[in-house]
Symmetry: C2
Subunit: 148 residues, 2 copies
């Protein structure tokens, strides 16, 4: 866990740089959101982000959270995923840590997984179809170990 920190802070650093390059000014709310996203390892919803920031005494307005998430998504550093729970979730894009999600239909738990053959299958399809594939999202749903 401790050794993950250096890798995780890479994302926050790179994101801050990208923001500066893109001409954004430094803003406290945005910095707080970036720092929070950087720490969490799996996807968070906007409400979870709001609650977590409030809990650490750096409350950020809901509208600002959505605006910031949208900016980061457009910058290409954040992935917005819809797991069929009626809300979007967001997670940092770390080139070396691409993964997908298992969603428990009972308790709504979200578990990450990755799989090389799956990625290869997606790449192969991307080349085959008459469509410029830019990204993909794979969700397996069912019952987690606890709910089964």
């Amino acid at each position: 866990m401790a050794e993950a920190n250096s890798k995780e802070s890479q994302w926050a650093t790179a994101t801050t740089e990208r923001l500066a390059e893109a001409g954004f000014r430094r803003g406290g709310a945005r910095a707080a959101v970036v720092a929070l996203l950087d720490e969490q390892s799996c996807a968070l919803s906007a409400y979870e982000i709001e609650a977590l920031l409030a809990a650490r005494e750096r409350a950020v307005g809901r509208a600002s959270i959505y605006r910031i998430l949208e900016q980061l998504d457009h910058l290409g550093v954040l992935s917005k995923v819809e797991l069929g729970q009626g809300q979007a979730r967001y997670e940092p894009i770390r080139p070396d840590h691409h993964h997908h999600h298992l969603v428990c239909d009972s308790c709504e738990a979200v578990i990450a997984f990755d799989d090389a053959p799956l990625e290869r299958a997606v790449e192969s399809i991307s080349k085959r179809v008459d469509f410029a594939v830019e990204g993909h999202e794979i969700v397996l749903h069912g019952l987690c170990a606890d709910c089964r």
Copy 2:
């Protein structure tokens, strides 16, 4: 197109049977929704269903549409898919016609595709994880041929 009808009506027939078995009464609104879903080949949103039914002079209340879709989903004959467009889409589950979706980020077009290696990769993952996988949803997004 004409020869597809016999196959498509199979779903409506089987669904009507399943509804009866499950103890549901026959209802005009539900029959209209089932008939409509049966005809369309790709996933529809609740609003599209409402509009299409109204256009054919068999208007069904919005609440009823959502209730019916939920029942069919629970019965296991309908698939609710979230393609990241902020709304759910629904399509009949036809065991022999399993497919996934390409979504155009520009024009929101939805195109179906299927791929055997992809399905095999998902099956393989399903066996590997500590999770009772019951279904999966794969969405590729990017730009369609027209928008590219």
